[in-house]
């Protein structure tokens, strides 16, 4: 069972590295925003893993607020870039 947890951790670390490469080399701004969305979702999973690792139930509330701020951030960036062409 420890082997499967280590394999899952390796997959999550590879996902973070690939998404961060796309965040660095993205040709347009929208690629970077999409990569930022995926990075915040993976960070939510990592916060839940920390909550069950340190046995702190308050970290689950931190994960809820973090996913809320990720959603609001992506919506704000998209609407801002859309409004910018009209002027």
């Amino acid at each position: 069972m420890t082997i499967m947890i280590i394999i899952s951790a390796v997959f999550i670390i590879l996902a973070v590295i690939l998404t961060f490469i796309r965040f660095l080399i993205g040709p347009t701004v929208y690629d970077r925003i999409a990569a930022l969305d995926v990075l915040t979702l993976i960070t939510t999973v990592i916060i839940v893993v920390l909550a069950v690792n340190y046995k702190q139930k308050i970290f689950m509330d931190v994960a809820i607020v973090y996913s809320l701020l990720s959603f609001i951030g992506v919506i704000a960036f998209a609407r801002f870039m859309e409004k910018k062409i009209d002027q």
Binding site: M4, A15, T28, D37, V38, L41, M60, E82
Partner: protein
């Protein structure tokens, strides 16, 4: 004992889906393909990983279901808004993409 096995297997499946979503975000040729790969696969991965952790530790299952429901509602909305904004700004397609409205109906 049985809930630990089910939780670990669901966590493994979810982490594989998150890796596939990040690989699609890296390898796809176009912004819209990247959004499609990076959002849908990652949403499925989030559902499997957080529900797997909630099954493994049953004391956090309520807030885990709350996080999963919120992400299930909010993530397609943010992806749709991002694609709409990019389409209005006129981001180029991949050259093999066929846009049925502009390429077929309007000609």
């Amino acid at each position: 004992m049985i809930n630990e096995i089910i939780g670990v297997i669901m966590f493994l499946i979810g982490s594989i889906f998150m890796f596939l979503g990040a690989l699609g975000l890296m390898r796809m040729p176009d912004l819209y393909n990247r959004l499609q790969a990076g959002t849908k696969a990652t949403t499925l991965g989030i559902i499997f990983t957080i529900l797997g952790l909630g099954i493994y530790y049953p004391e956090i299952i309520f807030k885990a279901i709350l996080i999963v429901l919120f992400i299930l509602m909010s993530n397609p909305v943010s992806s749709s808004t991002l694609a709409r904004s990019a389409y209005k700004k006129g981001i180029k397609y991949y050259e093999k993409t066929i846009n049925e409205v502009e390429d077929i109906c309007l000609k």
